[in-house]
Symmetry: C2
Subunit: 418 residues, 2 copies
Amino acid sequence: MDVAAYMAELGQQARAAAREVARSTTAVRNQTLLATARALSAARTELVRANQKDLENGRANGLDDAMLDRLELTEARIDTMIEGLQQVAGLPDPVGEITDMTYRPSGIQVGKMRVPLGVIGIIYESRPNVTVEAASLCLKSGNATILRGGSEAIHSNQAIAACLATGLAEAGLPETAVQVVATTDRAAVGELITMPQYVDVIVPRGGKGLIERISRDARVPVIKHLDGVCHVYIDSHADPEKALKVAVNAKTHRYGTCNTMETLLVDEEVADDMLPLLAREFVVKGVELRGCERTRAVLPDVIAATEEDWHAEYLAPILAVRVVAGLDAAIDHINRYSSQHTESIITENYTRARRFLTEVDSSSVMVNASTRFADGFEYGLGAEIGISTDKLHARGPVGLEGLTSQKYVVFGDGHIRA
Amino acid sequence: MDVAAYMAELGQQARAAAREVARSTTAVRNQTLLATARALSAARTELVRANQKDLENGRANGLDDAMLDRLELTEARIDTMIEGLQQVAGLPDPVGEITDMTYRPSGIQVGKMRVPLGVIGIIYESRPNVTVEAASLCLKSGNATILRGGSEAIHSNQAIAACLATGLAEAGLPETAVQVVATTDRAAVGELITMPQYVDVIVPRGGKGLIERISRDARVPVIKHLDGVCHVYIDSHADPEKALKVAVNAKTHRYGTCNTMETLLVDEEVADDMLPLLAREFVVKGVELRGCERTRAVLPDVIAATEEDWHAEYLAPILAVRVVAGLDAAIDHINRYSSQHTESIITENYTRARRFLTEVDSSSVMVNASTRFADGFEYGLGAEIGISTDKLHARGPVGLEGLTSQKYVVFGDGHIRA
């Protein structure tokens, strides 16, 4: 198979389909999503059978249990995909919104219209439900998509692709509006990320290694989500009860998510009081603490943290703890070690809260709230295609709006420039 | 000189300075701009002397007259730089603006805060006034800058850099907040565009060749402005008087600008009536017409257009003219040949105007207005660092807001995720 030619063909088809999707009505795009949901429901047997093939191959290829779990399409997961489609269909359509329309001194009227980006390439790993999730968000926002899932999920993804094709056809949109790459050849990824003539943006979803590789080699803009090394800083003016509650929630609500706290910073003025209270809670939850010297002076049982711990995204019941000399030291630590994902200050002090908000350069900055809130659904975006740790275009949780752009619209009445 | 080490040093310094600029007050940043204006005024003799050196070298190196003209710093151009600084100081500060603050069902309050991008790299060609213009917009929007001007303007740029350093020092900001690359070694550009750890975005200003080269090699996001192949489409329902006025203005108001019309599309239903009227006006203005076959059937004296003409950005008194079979054909032509900069429809028909606005995928889409309005000042942005033909981040004219990003801010009262 000539992968370059195959991918170029997908690209051309996507580009042509993108125009049709962009000018389709909200109703047609919603119909597509609902028809796909019906198609998925009708194809349960085929989906599970295709998925069995992937699971068998996965076992034969020695995939570990966690990977096999992510790969599995259970009835419950099919239900979740169907509900997801229905939810996205119910979201407001971002496309076509006109804002900021004002008259200029010249007499022209200028504003902005929200428009689809065009063709979005999605590169992801084992979870086949991402196929439906990503396709539905791209379609809803008026874009065509090329999806490249993990090779271990190829049969599941193709079965899902068939349902998407049914949905598109039923609503009268071209089936090429959503294309799932049918080859497991790794060269397909290389092609997808170097076709700026056909692809407007790449959204990779997966581990840091995958995303770094794609960012390095892409010739197309990438909306990327690297790691989440999130901090909570307990200020000397913190309400101890709020501090305890938020710190415990930020670490222990879920260990494997990118908005989980990985390092806790404690103001030296309250370290003697707060650290024992915190340690007691974390011990109960089974969280291993790794502390700086000053932490260990208060909590002698704690393991000594090394430089590596300040950089670590554990995604596990481990927490780095550091005592810092006040707000400036906390901000310095964060700006040095944070992945600029999410940080929270616990304080009752107005000026310190304000400084933390302004001076911490992360995609989400919080006061007296758990870092676990950094999430598209919690923020009211209705859906989330990822969390961007980039600064350009979309920063933080990316919803439908992040899959669109704005163009200028100008109304005149024969106006000319003088 | 070790260019890599030198550029890395500039990068580190810029990254450190960016934090200080980001947390500086509006007043301090405005003071810097006004102090720089005073420094430029006081340094007129030095500026002209440094510029003379560049002009002499330029003549010795055989620069053409147009290039020498762009290079020259006259008293009037120094005045313009000074006025520019004063104007930018007077613009509203985009940094820190908080919008969309709403309460979520969980009880947290979520909104967005506008923040600087960080470090902006500017790469430009001969005009030394760009040094002041770009530096002032980056500073105003809270960013640090590394500027890399053309080697032919090195003495002028260094003299301007000294004035910027004076301005920064007077206002108490680090001089490293604006750094003008002091070497003419071309390797400096290669370093600047591949230091994502120090540089957040590159804004190249110059010819298409320069920008394509930078986009291809950059490892840092690029806000790029390629070419402007702009169209005016005269619909069969156009008011002939408005059509004539706008078409003539869009082509002849200025020939060398990117928002100048390069191809005129005329609906076949009105071609017989409109083309002779248009031709008469263009002949008077000395514009050479290159037409399709059907144009030449009406205007036999017109030169035959080739496929190349539909792609051409003439930047000259030349205009490609094509008769098209209605709105769909016009949109097809535009979506095929346009550089997605600016297009305008002339029509009194509501539905056609609406379709043109929706279906033409360009950064500015207009109804009954001259393409020459596509400009940051005309749109009310107050200033313009360039016009983006990209879709991500900034599209169309880029003002101060395009040099910023938005982060999420979350207010809680000890809120935790359930």
